[in-house]
């Protein structure tokens, strides 16, 4: 096999809100099965970058290519068959059953006035099963815990048959256990070949998975590379404005290293 084609190829990407430049000249390749971690303080534009990669927001300059094809050229339906989005959580106004929420993932595969068929419902049930959530299928989505909702929404992106899943702070508002469960699911899906791109506040998440790290700061400065390249105490201090010590520690399996960032 020759050089694998990147799933997401970002070239010279620039985005501005009015005059404020959020990022500029960003180049990045993301390959299948990688987890790309986007780090940075509040308001630095992590979510903006995520939305640009997903084609929800248009770049001011440069391109995002999905398997070689410009993301801007996709129809909404076609894009949603490739890219699943997990936005920051909200509580919906109506208590839909979990299965109904998950089968919404079939929307991009249905016609303009279509509704899920029994085949689509079966796919939704399979996705729930794959994530160990089948027992929740008839429960009201609104009564689930934050962690369960997170996993249900991930199941919905699987029903979309997305090859890339974008997650906006998937661990915020979750307790410690559910953060771990959520992150493990993200890692497991990446191992199955789905490209995961997530924003997070915790630099300790960066080295959990194989994949690159994007470190953004308020001034529009961006560093990209592996966790060990990007997460230096100098770069973290410049980004967050506090002193942070960086440790390298072997993982429990002894195969790879964890990069731990600790301000104490």
């Amino acid at each position: 096999m020759g050089l694998a084609q990147p799933v997401i190829q970002i070239r010279d990407a620039t985005f501005r809100y009015g005059k404020r430049e959020i990022f500029s000249g960003l180049d990045l390749d993301v390959f299948a099965g990688e987890v790309l971690t986007i780090l940075g303080p509040n308001g630095c534009g992590k979510s903006t970058l995520l939305r640009c990669i997903g084609g929800v927001l248009a770049l001011d300059q440069g391109t995002v290519r999905l398997k070689g094809r410009d993301i801007a050229s996709f129809e909404a339906n076609a894009r949603a068959r490739k890219i699943g989005f997990l936005f920051q959580q909200h509580t919906p106004a109506f208590p839909f059953a979990v299965l109904d929420v998950v089968s919404m993932g079939r929307a991009p595969h249905l016609g303009l006035f279509g509704a899920p068929s029994s085949k689509d419902i079966a796919l939704a049930e399979q996705a729930l099963e794959r994530l160990g959530l089948f027992h929740l299928k008839d429960q009201p989505y609104t009564e689930l815990s934050g962690g369960e909702r997170q996993l249900v929404l991930i199941a919905r992106t699987l029903v979309q048959e997305a090859e890339i899943i974008l997650l906006d702070e998937p661990t915020s508002h979750l307790d410690f256990k559910n953060q771990v469960l959520s992150l493990r699911t993200i890692g497991a899906l990446a191992e199955q070949g789905i490209t995961m791109i997530m924003t997070t506040h915790d630099p300790n998440h960066a080295s959990l998975f194989p994949g690159k790290v994007v470190l953004m700061n308020q001034a529009g400065r961006i560093e990209t590379g592996s966790a060990s390249e990007v997460l230096t105490s100098g770069a973290l201090a410049a980004t967050y404005g506090i002193e942070i010590a960086v440790y390298t520690m072997p993982r429990r399996d002894g195969l790879t290293d964890l990069i731990l960032c600790n301000p104490w």
Partner: protein, 334 residues
């Protein structure tokens, strides 16, 4: 899971009550005669009933009962669709100003002493125009954010209410003003086959349109951004829901004045029975809304020697019921 009994009831009840509504009234018609008059329209039966009875049943009660059912069903499905689209269970059909605009048009028509058909047309056009105004006022670079729609709706409704006030102020207090006031209270008195024929197409079309998009409404309740990420063309569906709802509400107001609370309360009742899934909820609101307004209109025309304004009755029933819902759910809906 939805049980079979409620579904059977939802199909049988409106039909049974429609039949029942044809023999109750100030002039009692024996049920068997009602049945024979109806069947006589299709099959060759000997016409041994008096022609005046046939007129009462076919020309007065039948159009009125059908109109009550159409308006009840239409306002209820519209309310349910709006509550889904606006992601808010407190929203009702008039949120974008259709009721205020239609009422203003009807009052102006009464002031100008237009006939019934003209009034119906003017009120309908005013309703459409009012919502169009709201829609374009709310538009920001090719999107119509829900919050902008709600705020624009408040502005437009206030504007048409002010115009309505002006119309009332210049109306002759001896003849025109009472007519306007009575008309605004809402009534199905005077519904004829003609007015039914005029109101029916927009209401049926609107209901059909809403039924067509009922699953997409589920997705829309998750919010615009999330729905878009699922490939749903949110602006198209929002526009379609607004168009359908406005056709229904404008047709309803133009034929029977302001009938409040139906579009707010019935979706809640339906949700209590069949749950929040719009695929089931919308058909359920059709049946429950039709049944409800039919029964309330029967009460309006039979309870007293005169006629109780329908809008007054629906409010008198709807407000306490909503208060009960509020207390029961403590503001945590559905």
């Amino acid at each position: 899971m939805i049980k079979r009994l409620p579904i059977t009831l939802m199909i049988v009840a409106p039909i049974a009550l429609l039949f029942g509504s044809l023999f109750v009234g100030r002039f009692y018609v024996v049920p068997i005669d009602v049945a024979r008059i109806l069947l006589g329209q299709i099959f060759p039966l000997t016409h041994d009933w008096s022609p005046s009875v046939e007129t009462i049943v076919l020309q007065i009660r039948l159009p009125r009962a059908l109109m009550a059912m159409c308006v009840g069903a239409g306002l209820s499905i519209s309310g349910a669709a709006y509550q889904g689209m606006f992601r808010n269970p407190l929203v009702s059909t008039d949120i974008l100003g259709v009721t205020a605009a239609s009422a203003c048009g009807a009052a102006a028509a009464l002031l100008l002493a237009l006939n019934g058909v003209e009034l119906q047309i003017v009120a309908f056009v005013f309703g459409l125009a009012g919502v169009a105004l709201t829609y374009f006022l709310a538009r920001i670079s090719n999107t119509t954010p829900v919050l902008m729609l709600v705020l624009s709706g408040i502005v437009v409704a206030a504007f048409f209410s002010a115009l309505l006030g002006g119309v009332k102020y210049i109306a002759d207090p001896d003849s025109k003003l009472p007519a306007i006031t009575y008309w605004l209270l809402g009534s199905l008195n005077g519904v004829s086959l003609n007015s039914l024929a005029m109101a029916l197409p927009p209401i049926v079309l609107g209901c059909a349109g809403l039924l067509l998009v009922r699953w997409k409404l589920n997705v829309l309740t998750m919010g615009d951004e999330e729905a878009q990420s699922l490939g749903v063309r949110t602006e198209f569906f929002k526009g379609m829901v607004i168009l359908c709802t406005t056709m229904i509400a404008a047709a309803a107001v133009s034929v029977c004045g302001i009938i409040g609370w139906v579009g707010l309360v019935i979706p809640h009742v339906a949700r209590m029975i069949v749950g929040p899934d719009h695929r089931v909820l919308l058909p359920a609101t059709l049946s429950i809304g039709a049944t409800y307004l039919l029964v309330v209109d029967d009460i309006a025309r039979t309870a007293t020697a005169g006629e109780i304004p329908l809008g007054v009755l629906t409010a008198v029933i709807g407000a306490p019921f909503f208060a009960y819902l509020l207390r029961k759910t403590r503001g945590i809906w559905a």
